[in-house]
């Protein structure tokens, strides 16, 4: 399947241009105002006057979903209304938990019979995908997935199956997760935090450092190559084995899933990792996948934002034009299971 559009909302802004700019500018410090350093998305980023009527009741989670999905659609130049059925697959680890907690606030403060129906309906995990389908007028299959291991990879698998089965010509496939005080508290207590705000993807540590992030990343995936094309997904492996040697391996190590020593074994080609730009997230694969898509399209390798490299592996250490045919995006979950997304020019 081909990548024909990308939309992204993250700490450095909105849109694929923001990611490209961040890749060119390199690392910047996260917000240090909360209990832990974190890459939060500003309210300004989530404001869009052209969509304000359609998403006036949407929470932050749904806004991140809608804005990234709409941008992916625009970037692809595919007209949803003309194309009819476009599938939507939204994957998340934690869902719209801020709204869930706000709803629980109502229960605790006002009692079971005096809660807000609007908060309840927005707290349901698939509310975000519903907003996306309503805003775009898309009436194809629409699925929301929630999982901690490989949320993006499983969404990609499903999108590929739908395209192959002919259920739709295009699938908007993406991930969203949000931060709030509860999540930051849980991260603070359960993860090792990088107090200087620097995720170090190439330390391969058994106790890596994290800086939690939030955001949304959506991709318009198409069965046929479209006018706008970033590259092609040619395989998704969960066996740890892949054929051929990639030009670049992008690893998802970001301190979020514990022991990262196994990543060391995936670094037999030139390696990159861009998690320091957007933060530690269980859905971080989607953001590295966006970076990989830009590399393939622009044939430009971006310098890793943090290059601490005690193992001396071969890193993308400068931004330079070069011929890139294949990128492997590798994620290792907490159980040690490996997933590889194989992308080609």
């Amino acid at each position: 399947m081909f990548i024909s559009g990308i939309g992204i909302v993250f700490t450095r802004g909105r849109g694929i241009d923001s990611l490209e700019k961040a890749l060119n500018q390199g690392w910047s410090s996260p917000s240090l105002t909360g209990p832990i350093p974190a890459y939060r998305v500003s309210q300004e980023t989530l404001t869009d006057t052209s969509l304000s009527k359609k998403i006036r009741r949407a929470d932050r989670f749904s806004r991140m979903a809608v804005l990234s999905a709409v941008d992916a659609c625009r970037d692809s130049c595919i007209n949803v209304n003309e194309r009819g059925k476009i599938g939507i697959v939204l994957s998340t680890a934690f869902g719209p938990h801020s709204t869930t907690f706000s709803f629980i606030d109502d229960i605790l403060d006002y009692g079971d019979a005096n809660v807000s129906p609007t908060k309840f309906s927005n707290s349901v995990h698939n509310a975000a995908a519903s907003y996306v389908s309503s805003v775009l007028g898309s009436r194809g299959p629409t699925i929301t997935l929630a999982q901690f291991s490989f949320p993006f990879q499983n969404a990609l698998v499903l999108a590929g199956l739908w395209l192959n089965e002919g259920r739709c010509e295009h699938v908007l496939c993406g991930c969203v997760d949000e931060l709030n005080a509860v999540m930051e508290y849980a991260c603070k207590m359960k993860l090792k935090t990088a107090t200087d705000g620097k995720i170090m993807p190439f330390m391969f540590s058994p106790a890596p450092l994290s800086v939690p992030g939030e955001g949304g990343a959506f991709f318009m995936l198409s069965k046929e190559k479209c006018q706008n094309n970033y590259g092609e997904v040619t395989g998704i492996s969960f066996s740890g084995k892949t054929n051929g040697k990639p030009d670049i391996t992008i690893i998802d190590s970001d301190g979020m899933t514990g022991d990262e020593t196994l990543y060391r074994e995936t670094t037999n080609s030139t390696v990159a990792g861009y998690s320091p730009l957007f933060g530690s997230m269980l859905i971080g694969s989607a953001f590295n996948f966006a970076a990989a898509s830009l590399i393939l399209k622009n044939q430009l390798v971006y310098k890793c934002p943090v290059t601490d490299n005690p193992s001396g592996i071969k890193l993308c250490s400068t931004t330079s034009e070069t011929g890139i045919n294949q990128i492997n995006c590798v994620r290792i979950c907490g159980t040690g299971k490996i997933s590889t997304i194989i992308m080609q020019k």
Binding site: I104, A113, S123, R139, L158
Partner: protein, 387 residues
């Protein structure tokens, strides 16, 4: 490649296994009562699972307990071992409650003091139902939890169908599970769609839904794999369709075009015409809007003589579990050749162009359909075939 339904497991207020469930349906038992699994001032009737095998009682993880109980029954029914590590097996399950970190005590403690015991967070992180069931049965293939609100179970079965057809796995555990929980009880209450009396799907005087809990699990296998291990197919999962309303967060699209599209897509996927369907197990929640839209669409797609019913009157609305439980009932009914009376129905609604079956009815035919409509405007349907 045809996909066999080789095992069925169900737990709900109607019974702790498929046999008990079917017995309740056959005899019109409606095991409802007030909420007892948590405290609430809300007095709506609910359908609770009153007994769970001790081995599957997991503290603070009731949805997972329900899912594991039904999974064990389904694996036994399929003649598969309790551990599937030697097979290419996947797990695709739907839920709503188990996907949310909604522990009241944890959150209340955090908001009061800025700190809280993290055991509920640990439970939540261990409790993603597809991942947890896959871990328990040692399934090494894909594991995906679907959170499409009330169509989650049906969508999970549809995703598993795609996995199996593509060869990603040979065996899949698919369906849905949800526990009765204070958050949805309060939420549905706030929306004004809970009935103070027992629900009456498609009835003129219907006044809303009753919440329930349970799990419905199908074991699905590629036919070649199933036959190779000595099975003789009786039931197939032959099609799945899904479509969005793109209309409203909680209300179904009045013209029903989303549901119609999902149904036609499922029929197309099965390669059959509407005339070949012998009955429909409808979503039929008992709310004014759902039943009106669904009844109209069923009439439009299948004609006014289609036999249909809702089983929400026996189980309550089990949310993410509903699609799994209703798929199990649909498969069992098709296999046994009878469908149950639609519990709660008494008076025809002039705004709904057809009426559900009012007594247990023998059926003849090879194909049956189960539908799900959900918050967010999701619509899903599956087609089950008798060999």
């Amino acid at each position: 490649m045809k996909i066999v339904i080789s095992g069925i497991g169900t737990v709900s207020a109607a019974g702790i296994n498929l046999s008990e469930n079917l017995d309740s349906l056959r005899h019109g038992k409606r095991n409802s009562g007030p909420v007892s699994v948590f405290s609430s001032c809300l007095s709506y009737p609910v359908f609770e699972v009153k007994y769970l095998p001790e081995k599957w009682k997991i503290d603070g993880m009731r949805t997972l307990s329900l899912a594991l109980a039904a999974t064990e029954e389904a694996l036994n029914d399929a003649g598969l071992p309790k551990q599937l590590s030697e097979f290419k097996a996947g797990v695709c399950l739907g839920t709503t409650v188990a996907s949310q970190l909604n522990d009241m005590d944890f959150y209340n403690s955090f908001r009061k003091s800025g700190s809280a015991d993290l055991k509920p967070v640990d439970r939540f992180l261990r409790g993603n139902i597809a991942e947890a069931v896959a871990h328990t049965v040692k399934a090494i293939g894909p594991a995906t939890t679907v959170v499409n609100a009330c169509s989650s179970g049906t969508d999970a079965i549809g995703i598993a169908l795609s996995w199996l057809k593509s060869g990603i796995c040979n065996v899949a555990i698919a369906g849905g599970a949800d526990e009765l929980n204070r958050v949805p009880l309060c939420g549905f209450g706030s929306l004004g769609i809970l009935s103070n009396s027992l629900c009456a799907p498609f009835d003129r005087n219907r006044a809303g839904l009753n919440l329930g809990e349970g799990a419905g699990i199908l074991v699905l296998e590629r036919e070649d794999f199933y036959i190779r291990r000595g099975g003789k197919p009786v039931l197939y999962l032959s099609g799945y369709g899904s479509a969005a309303d793109a209309y409203h967060l909680t209300a179904p699209r009045p013209d029903g075009k989303g549901l119609e599209s999902a149904l036609r897509s499922a029929l197309y996927d099965s390669g059959i015409s509407p005339e070949e369907v012998c009955f429909v197990n409808a979503h039929g929640t008992g709310t004014i809007d759902n039943d009106k839209v669904e009844g109209s669409v069923l009439s439009r797609v299948f004609g006014e003589n289609i036999s249909f019913f809702s089983t929400k009157g026996y189980t309550g609305h089990t949310l993410g579990g509903a699609g799994g439980i209703e798929a199990a009932y649909t498969a069992a009914a098709l296999k046994e050749g009878w469908i149950p009376a639609s519990a709660g129905f008494a008076c025809r609604d002039d705004e709904i162009p057809l009426t559900p079956v009012t007594e247990n009815t023998d059926i003849k035919g090879s194909f049956a359909v189960s539908t799900s409509l959900a918050f967010g405007g999701n619509n899903a349907a599956i087609v089950i075939e008798r060999a």
